[in-house]
């Protein structure tokens, strides 16, 4: 058994505590059901004994005939209890774990989440957590019953007949042996199959998602064959493994059948006088023999049930391997201030800040020092890969600096503030703003849950979306996102820009605020920005001269370093080559 298996098992076991008392209820119900089995066996054996051996009248059977259906009814009720208890336990455990995962994702932040790929992450939080269900609902209670039920049966059979007990006992070691056999390599095998299966699913999904690309290159029709082929390969590989794997469950079937056959033949031969051992010196009557025979199939039944739930265990272990690192990845917890009053005006100083993305050798920002004064507007330019987006990630607290420090204008160290406290001072327009599924109002209220409709309409006016909203059938209540009103890239950016208006934050970070806008909206937004600049600190990433003209100073980034920071005029004077193109066009437009 590998180290990994051990840890994932330990982890799975430790999570069972979230199930409360329900797991115990399931086990107790299962064990009580075995006790009722004895009543059933007693009733059936009594009827046989009385009718065959003592030629009793029908009236003598009244008690067993009345007890028998009651025992079945009772076992049914216990099975019901066991099922419900198991499900409740598993549901509680899954809810707790999912809550923890979501919280952890929030702590680890968007840069980390982006590295995971949102569908993979979603799959973990949703499907992998659900994959734990069978393990807690069925497998774990059943594992206890696998020991309890055979033990109870042995304890009952031995006093009646030691030879019969011995037959069960001799085949009993096959129970742990069988459990081991089922277990040996089963996890690896299952995991291999699991991986194959998810690889096949990924391939299928990839083909469906890339369907238009396949079509454009004229290979979409032929892809059907590829889809089939990949699935057939999966089948061939799976079957090779399964043919072997089924041998272990077949062996279990064989031993359980064999022990029943041996019992029947042994007991029969005792009756016929061919054997005279095992009876503790007394007699073995038909009642005792029949009683033992009725119990025999149930001796192995729990193990067969366990085999049926085995896939649940393997699935859970595979899921655990996926979930454990997620839950274990704790961001460094330091004591941070929550109660930071957001200042009216905010400036920031960066001192020798170096940032690096995980798993990358080159720093994304390399020893940057810079002061943004309260109320200042800074334009940021630089070729792609210069570190512009990194600067935003740093300012938003998504990417902690590797070295150096960030301070506010009044000397507060930003790393002493709780991320939520610091982030409440920031409004942001990203390159690809997210539209969440929900109404337009929901999307705007992300930035300020208390904003009323008047404020929402005002914000939409600022970004020239009034006409667009007017044309929507339900206005602010129009659903957006998956399946709702389609939102073009330009509209999404303007909605995100409207959010930054609703957010009364002193620092706004805007990434190409007028990209993909038509001319009229562009002019409108530009005027709004000019007004906004009066009251807030603005940092804009842009290539556009008219926007740069709004900036008090321009920061030129290159390869993660500050190449220059100056006013537009100063920059032009000091670095004549740098903004050549910009000037040429600007002069054209003034001509």
């Amino acid at each position: 058994m590998t180290q990994d298996t051990q840890t994932s098992r330990r982890w799975l076991a430790s999570q069972a505590r979230h199930g409360g008392h329900w797991p115990y209820v399931a086990v107790i119900a299962g064990s009580a059901s075995t006790l009722l089995l004895f009543v059933q066996a007693w009733a059936i054996a009594s009827i046989a004994q009385r009718m065959v051996m003592t030629q009793a009248t029908f009236a003598d059977l009244l008690v067993p005939l009345l007890v028998l259906p009651l025992a079945f009814c009772g076992r049914g009720a216990l099975a019901w209890l066991k099922t419900e208890a198991g499900t409740r336990a598993a549901v509680r455990i899954r809810q707790t774990l999912r809550g923890e995962l979501l919280q952890r994702i929030g702590e680890l932040g968007p840069l980390w989440a982006r590295r995971q790929h949102s569908a993979t992450l979603g799959n973990r939080v949703w499907d992998q957590v659900d994959a734990l269900h069978g393990y807690y609902a069925d497998y774990r209670p059943q594992r206890v019953l696998c020991l309890a039920t055979p033990l109870l049966i042995l304890l009952t059979v031995f006093p009646l007949n030691w030879a019969a007990g011995l037959i069960l006992l001799v085949t009993a070691p096959f129970i742990p042996l069988n459990m081991a056999m089922v277990g040996i390599g089963a996890k690896q095998r299952h995991q291999a199959q699991f991986q194959e299966m998810s690889r096949m699913n990924r391939h299928f999904l990839d083909a469906l998602r890339g369907l238009s690309t396949l079509k454009l290159f004229g290979v979409s029709r032929a892809q059907a064959e590829v889809v089939h082929e990949v699935a057939e390969n999966f089948r061939a590989r799976s079957m090779r493994v399964l043919r072997l794997a089924f041998l272990s469950s077949t062996l279990l079937e064989f031993f359980s059948s064999l022990s029943i056959a041996l019992l029947a033949i042994y007991i029969g031969f005792v009756y016929l006088g061919h054997f005279d051992f095992g009876t503790w010196g007394g007699n073995l009557d038909l009642f005792a023999g029949m009683f033992i025979l009725v119990l025999a199939p149930d001796f192995y039944q729990p193990l067969r049930d366990l085999g049926a739930h085995y896939h649940a265990k393997a699935e859970a272990e595979a899921a655990a391997d996926d979930l454990m690192p997620l839950l274990a990845a704790r961001p460094p917890v330091t004591k941070r201030r929550h109660g930071w009053p957001v200042p009216e005006r905010l400036g920031i100083t960066l001192e020798n800040v170096t940032c690096r993305y995980a798993e990358q050798s080159a720093p994304a920002l390399d020893d940057i020092s810079l002061t943004i004064r309260p109320g200042e507007t800074i334009g940021v330019v630089g070729p792609s890969g210069a570190g512009k987006s990194t600067l935003f990630n740093l300012l938003m607290g998504f990417l902690p600096p590797e070295s150096g420090m960030l301070k506010t204008h009044d000397g507060t160290h930003i790393d002493t503030l709780a991320p939520e406290a610091w982030q409440s001072a920031i409004g942001w327009l990203g390159q690809r703003p997210a539209i969440v599924s929900g109404t337009l109002a929901d999307n705007l209220r992300l930035a300020d849950p208390d904003a009323d409709d008047v404020a929402l309409r005002q914000a939409l006016r600022e970004v020239a979306l009034t006409d667009w909203v007017g044309a929507l059938p339900l206005g602010l209540a129009t659903p957006l996102g998956d399946g709702g009103q389609p939102v073009s890239g330009g509209e999404a950016r303007r909605i995100a820009l409207a959010r930054t208006f609703l957010r009364r934050a002193p620092l706004l970070l805007l990434d190409e605020p007028v990209a993909s806008l038509d001319r009229a909206s562009e002019a409108h937004v530009m005027r709004t920005l000019a007004r906004l600049k009066q009251e807030r600190t603005l940092v804009m990433l842009t290539h556009r001269l008219d926007l740069l003209a709004l900036a008090d100073r321009i920061l030129v980034l290159d390869h993660g370093r500050v190449r220059a920071i100056d006013t537009l005029a100063g920059l032009h004077a000091a670095h004549p080559g740098l903004l050549d193109a910009a000037w040429r066009h600007a002069e054209n437009s003034h001509a």
Binding site: A119, A264, M396, R499
Partner: protein, 589 residues
């Protein structure tokens, strides 16, 4: 979103899937046969053992009868049952898995083939990627139709009849009773479970799908949600909604518990009645009392066949929901058909668009009467603000969008008269959203030109300014992109898509915003390379940035679905009031 679960007939919606099973009926049939052998062996073994015990106990009462008792036959029968039960189980597992996995491969192809002809733009509007990932899960749900519902139900039916025959040989009355009582429990249990359960399991599916979509949506909005301090409240909302789904799950568990109780009770009653009838007949000397145990144990063993049926039938709702979702996609998304063979062959690579009207995916007007002629080998830039209909025009050319009115000609042949093969071979396209497949970069490029060698590919990537990026890849062209191609920045991904299109030997090249997200220097370089690679080919370049377009043959401006102006860039620039000149003055750096 597919509409709510409808209570139309199961047979209607599941019918096509039943048909899919036909090619594998041999495998599936053998699976059922083995399963039946296993069950009948179990019944035979325990019933025979019960009789053997009773008979030998009776014979053992006196030494004479004991000696005369033929124990050879029954004990051989019991041993035979041990072997057939073991072999049957193994055979059943292997054949049924083989059969279902084959069925699964077939189902995947079937789903793919059902989706493939649908209009990609309409499909995207219908529910994007999340729908597709659910379809993947649905395929798996559909295969449980056979494995958990159909096969066990048929086997149970036959096993019950088998048990009835075993008992009926000795007493016809009891045999008939046992058969009908077991059939009744075998039908009532699953029927009730299905009746009470299928709506709930389908509702579970619906809630589950919705919540999953919601979660993934929230995860992709993580930066915004964190920044605006809304992550916690969003996750709280999700957790709360999740309880609704889990309540359905608890209901299903309760129902399954109830059916277990019901079937155990019915079993108890059937068994008791069978034993009572046997005992009654025995007490009146019309039945050998040694057969009482046989009757009881046979009933007990036969019950194994129906024990798990209710759960399977309860989950039928899930299976149906899956089938319905696929059906909904097929009926709601229009398919685009192509003639099998070209009605005419295009004479050259010229394009003629006349009076083209088309709508956006959401139904609003995109193009209202666009006419445009491009001669073979001409390079034309199509400019316009976002939402002006540029992309729709490209989509109409590749027949992703069916125009409402107007004609589209390639080499003087209507696009509608071209087979899909010819159409695809004629156009090389780089759309706005570049999809990278989970395959090496080489394979992603070779999609356009299977013959392309490493040198060509590398040259092209270097020309498009991706040389440094390529160098940074650990295994060069053999490296794999992250899912979603996120190891490339937005601009790099665009250029990779352009490279893919330029590799294609097609005579007409359509590029949608190839320089979006690039700084001016890179954009100019990319534009130059595009022109170089498109020498002798017809090029339609859609963009909203006019910088550098002076080099092209002509420029056209599209706005509000109409062509506003079209001429050589020089001529347009010469007119200071032209929109092209105004645009050109405004864009900088």
């Amino acid at each position: 979103m597919p509409e709510r679960y409808r209570a139309t007939s199961h047979a209607g919606i599941l019918g096509p899937y039943l048909k899919q099973m036909r090619p594998f009926s041999l495998w599936l049939g053998f699976g059922m046969l083995f399963s039946l052998v296993t069950l009948l062996s179990s019944i035979g073994m325990i019933a025979l053992s019960g009789w053997f015990l009773s008979a030998s106990a009776l014979a053992g009462l006196s030494a004479g009868t004991a000696a005369a008792f033929n124990y050879f036959l029954p004990s051989a029968g019991i041993r035979l049952c041990v072997l057939t039960r073991t072999a049957g189980r193994y055979g059943e597992r292997v054949t049924s898995h083989e059969g279902t996995l084959r069925l699964l491969s077939q189902l995947r192809r079937h789903v793919y083939e059902a989706i493939e002809p649908l209009s990609p733009t309409a499909l995207q509007r219908y529910g994007s990627g999340e729908l597709l990932s659910r379809l993947t899960a649905d395929v798996d749900a559909l295969d449980s139709l056979y494995l958990r519902v159909i096969a066990p139900s048929l086997v149970a039916l036959l096993a019950i009849v088998g048990c009835g025959v075993v008992v009926g040989v000795f007493s016809l009355g009891i045999g008939l009773f046992v058969t009908s009582a077991l059939l009744l429990s075998g039908i009532v249990g699953p029927w009730l479970a299905w009746r009470l359960g299928h709506r709930h399991t389908a509702r579970w599916q619906e809630l589950n799908g919705r919540l999953r979509t919601q979660l993934i949506g929230r995860l992709s909005a993580l930066p915004e949600l964190l920044l605006y301090g809304r992550w916690e409240s969003e996750t709280d909302a999700l957790t709360e909604a999740q309880q609704q789904r889990d309540a359905e799950e608890c209901y299903a568990a309760r129902l399954w518990g109830l059916s277990q109780w019901l079937s155990q009770t019915l079993l108890g009653l059937t068994l008791t009645a069978a034993l009572a009838m046997a005992a009654w007949l025995a007490s009146r000397q019309s039945l050998d009392p040694t057969l009482i145990a046989l009757t009881g144990l046979a009933v007990l063993a036969a019950f194994e066949a129906i024990a798990l049926l209710p759960q399977a039938w309860q989950n039928l709702g899930k299976v149906r929901y899956a089938a319905q979702r696929l059906e909904a996609v097929r009926t709601h998304v229009p398919a685009i058909t192509y003639p099998l063979n070209d009605r005419h062959s295009p004479r050259d690579a010229s394009l003629a668009i006349s009076n083209l009207h088309a709508v956006f995916a959401d139904g609003t007007q995109a193009l209202s009467g666009v006419s445009l002629i491009m001669r073979d080998g001409e390079h034309l830039a199509l400019l316009g603000p976002s939402g002006s209909g540029k992309t729709t025009l490209l989509n109409a050319l590749v027949r992703f969008v069916e125009p409402q009115r107007g004609n589209l000609l390639l080499g003087q042949v209507a696009l509608r008269d071209l087979s899909e093969t010819t159409l695809r071979e004629s156009f090389a396209v780089a759309p706005q959203d570049i999809h990278l497949f989970v395959a090496s970069y080489r394979e992603n490029l070779q999609l356009a030109a299977p013959e392309a060698n490493d040198e060509e590919m590398t040259d092209l990537l270097v020309a498009l300014g991706l040389g440094e990026w390529l160098k940074a890849q650990p295994k060069g062209l053999d490296s794999y992109p992250d899912e979603d191609g996120s190891s490339l920045s937005g601009g790099q991904l665009r250029r990779f898509g352009v490279a893919r299109a330029l590799l294609s030997p097609a005579r007409v090249v359509l590029l949608d915003e190839p320089t979006e997200g690039l700084d001016d220097g890179t954009a100019a370089q990319v534009l130059n390379e595009i022109r170089r690679y498109c020498q002798g080919r017809t090029l339609l370049l859609v963009t909203h940035r006019p910088a550098g377009l002076e080099q092209l043959d002509r420029a056209a401006i599209l706005d509000a679905g109409r062509l506003q102006e079209i001429d050589t860039p020089q001529a347009l620039l010469a007119r200071p009031e032209s929109r092209f000149s105004t645009l050109n003055r405004r864009i900088v750096l």
